[in-house]
Amino acid sequence: MAQLGKGKLNYRCPSCFMRDLDIDMFYDKEKKEFCCIRCQYRGSEKDVLEKNEMVRFRYGAMLKRFDFGLEDMEWTNDPAVEK
């Protein structure tokens, strides 16, 4: 078996990402799978992409736009300091 290399994109391990670890994965071109050398995850590109969707579960408001009532605030582009 030859050494691991890099895939077309530099995918991180989705399992480690979920525990706040950014670990690059390496690619087995024979098996066409990405491997994590820190944990036991290995998977195809399709599986990695599916798991990357899963890791977003924590971002419950990821696609929500908040307004903070900013439209009610008066703004100036004059840098002069008012005392």
Partner: protein, 619 residues
């Protein structure tokens, strides 16, 4: 007063981006002078500059040491200064290049980690090289972190410098862990927004002219004050590619409202800071690598930067944003702020949908975080009053660890919840009735911000929505107010019983602070700590992990002296005349290496009890 939203956009021609050699060079022998690498780096810089200018945003060009050897980079900086008013500045990031390695014979690249002797030599080398190329000395500089000795030296040798990128908020053990324990940027505990660093310690703002380091510091990125405190800081800042790193975007549509929410929440901070709010974007070229960055292809990296800058541009066109160079900002900041005026941020969760709310407060005497989701408990506390002389770099006791030590840090030292035994660091209160005990840390609520002059001192006040404490035979409604007294290092927690379901009932209130000291998750030696209860008598416990306690009726203060961080922290009472209370101190033990300071009293309906937490330097 109209509100001002000030933005700094900074670009650096890094030539050898920190990430690019590792990522694009995988499978090749290391060669930081590869032509392809240099060409790509400069191309990315040009792209970033073009995007900013297209949107009408002026930039600060922070020349790196490597770029000073590149004629094209130098000419570009000069041309953009002339054409767009960009500032030509000098960063101490981006040291790695063939010339640096040959001269200094090291692969170190973080200026704060070098020995003081090397820092001086490198600073002189870099600043003189800059002068040689441009004919003047820069007004702005920076790095991920600038230790106080480094800043003082630069200011002494090059007094033209008035602004610096000086820390990256909460980039500490969490960032280290995220990078598989290989990224040694350990500098938790600083301000999240611009400040004037003291000569003694970069994190701690100057209290007066004598302490003034002479520069205005800005943070490296504007970070999410909830997400960064809990998780990997490098996912949650006004850095579009950091947002991609966090996978905080729709992978089908490539939309990332979070980036705009983050910018907008920073705008919202004008409400708490006399109409001033600030934001900065500083993306190193390695983040716009043609090879893509992790799972994000180049097209997405580019789009995110274009979108982020376009949002700034839109706000500017609407008259809602003022773009400044770093040097311009330093002048503005000094005119706008006084030394003791705090930076305040009532910050809501904009990512997880949790409804959580924190309040961050920084002034020259302390940094604190109050958690409304924990009933107004203080969950992080840094005693800036001590102005610790904490030398950093090779040859000092702290080669890498530049964090300002904490007394309370709920993530590293447990907070309210512990596993079966012991206590975690927190400043909270317990309400007790008929053998039942409820900690206010379990009462989720929200706060309203206000300012008030009290006894001649300006106070920033958090008024929390009242919460119900339900016992088996009694419901008690309590309101908490938290007062931050400007310029004194004091925080008051006031508890008022608004209602009791049984009008004749009485509850016991236990106001407490569990603390320790440190910069990481792991415990430090506590044996030099002294705990004292003082009043009609003064009694001290010398910390020896023996789980001892002492108390005194009507104690005037209970306090701890923590010599390793030159800090005295105390609690004292503000109550009606004749009100009975008891002060107490508790030593910890090996499995719970903390100490506790507290007061107990009893409360009936309509009664109020307040305790002050004070921080002082202890020599």
């Amino acid at each position: 007063m109209k509100n001002q939203f000030v933005v700094n956009v900074i670009h650096r021609p890094e030539m050898v981006p920190e990430y690019a050699e590792k990522v694009t060079g995988h499978g090749k022998e290391e060669n930081i002078s590869r032509k392809a690498l240099l060409t790509e780096s400069l191309d990315i810089f040009k792209t970033q500059q073009s995007i900013a200018h297209k949107n009408g945003i002026k930039t600060t060009i922070q020349m790196t040491y490597a770029s000073l050897f590149n004629d094209e980079a130098v000419e570009l900086a000069k041309a953009h200064h002339e054409q767009y008013g960009d500032e030509i500045a000098l960063t101490l990031l981006g040291l790695p290049c063939k010339e640096f390695r040959e001269k200094y014979k090291t692969k170190d690249f973080c200026i704060w980690m070098f020995s003081m002797e090397d820092k001086k030599e490198i600073v002189r080398d870099v600043f003189e090289k800059f002068y040689e190329r441009f004919g003047f000395y820069p007004e702005s500089t920076g790095s991920y972190y600038m230790d106080a000795d480094l800043t003082n030296f630069i200011k002494q040798e090059y007094p033209s410098v008035k602004c610096a990128v000086a820390t990256c908020w909460e980039e500490g053990p969490k960032a280290y862990h995220t990078c598989n324990n290989s990224w040694y940027t350990l500098f938790d505990g600083g301000p999240w927004a611009p400040w004037i660093p003291s000569k003694q310690n970069t994190h701690a703002p100057a209290a007066n002219e004598a302490e003034d380091s002479g520069i205005v510091a800005i943070p490296h990125l504007s970070r999410d004050l909830i997400a960064c405190y809990d998780g990997n800081g490098s996912n949650f800042g006004t850095h579009p590619q950091n947002v991609l790193r966090g996978m905080i975007y729709d992978s089908k549509t490539w939309e990332y409202p979070y980036l705009y929410n983050l910018i907008d929440q920073y705008r919202n901070l004008a409400r708490f800071n006399n109409g001033y709010s600030y934001n900065m974007m500083f993306v190193g070229p390695g983040w716009m690598n043609k090879m893509g960055r992790w799972e994000a292809p180049y097209e997405l990296l580019l789009k995110s930067y274009e979108d982020g800058m376009a949002y700034y541009g839109k706000l500017k066109k609407e008259g809602k944003l003022i773009d400044m160079t770093m040097a311009e900002f330093a002048d503005y900041y000094r005119e706008k702020k006084s030394y003791t005026e705090p930076e305040c941020a009532l910050w809501d969760d904009i990512l997880y949908g949790s409804d959580k709310e924190l309040f961050w407060y920084t002034d020259p005497f302390l940094r604190a975080c109050v958690n409304m989701d924990q009933g107004g408990a203080i969950v992080d506390l840094r005693p800036y009053a001590a102005k610790l002389d904490w030398k950093v770099g090779i040859g000092t006791p702290h080669v890498q660890d530049a964090s300002y030590p904490f007394l309370i840090q709920e993530k590293y030292r447990a907070g309210y919840f512990t596993h079966y035994a012991g206590e975690g660091t927190i400043r909270s209160a317990k309400v007790i009735h008929n053998g039942e005990e409820v900690d206010l840390a379990l009462c989720r609520t929200k706060a309203h911000f206000s300012e008030e002059m009290i006894d001649g001192k300006k106070n920033r006040i958090l008024t929390l929505d009242a919460t119900d404490i339900e016992f088996a035979d009694l419901t008690c409604t309590i309101q908490t107010k938290v007062y931050f007294e400007e310029g004194t290092g004091r925080i008051k927690h006031e508890r008022r019983v608004l209602n009791m379901s049984d009008k004749n009932a009485e509850v016991t209130l236990n106001e407490y602070m569990v603390a320790c000291y440190g910069t990481t998750e792991y415990s430090e030696d506590m044996t030099s700590v002294k705990l004292t209860v003082s009043g009609s008598d003064t009694r001290t416990i010398d910390y020896a992990y023996k789980c001892r306690e002492d108390s005194l009726d009507n104690a005037t203060s209970v306090y701890a002296v923590v010599p390793p961080i030159e800090t005295k922290v105390s609690l004292s009472v503000e109550a009606e005349e004749g009100k009975a209370f008891t002060g107490y101190i508790k030593e910890g033990y090996a499995f719970s290496p903390m100490f506790t300071l507290g007061y107990t009293t009893t409360l009936k309906e309509s009664e109020v009890f307040a305790t002050w937490l004070s921080l002082e330097k202890a020599n």
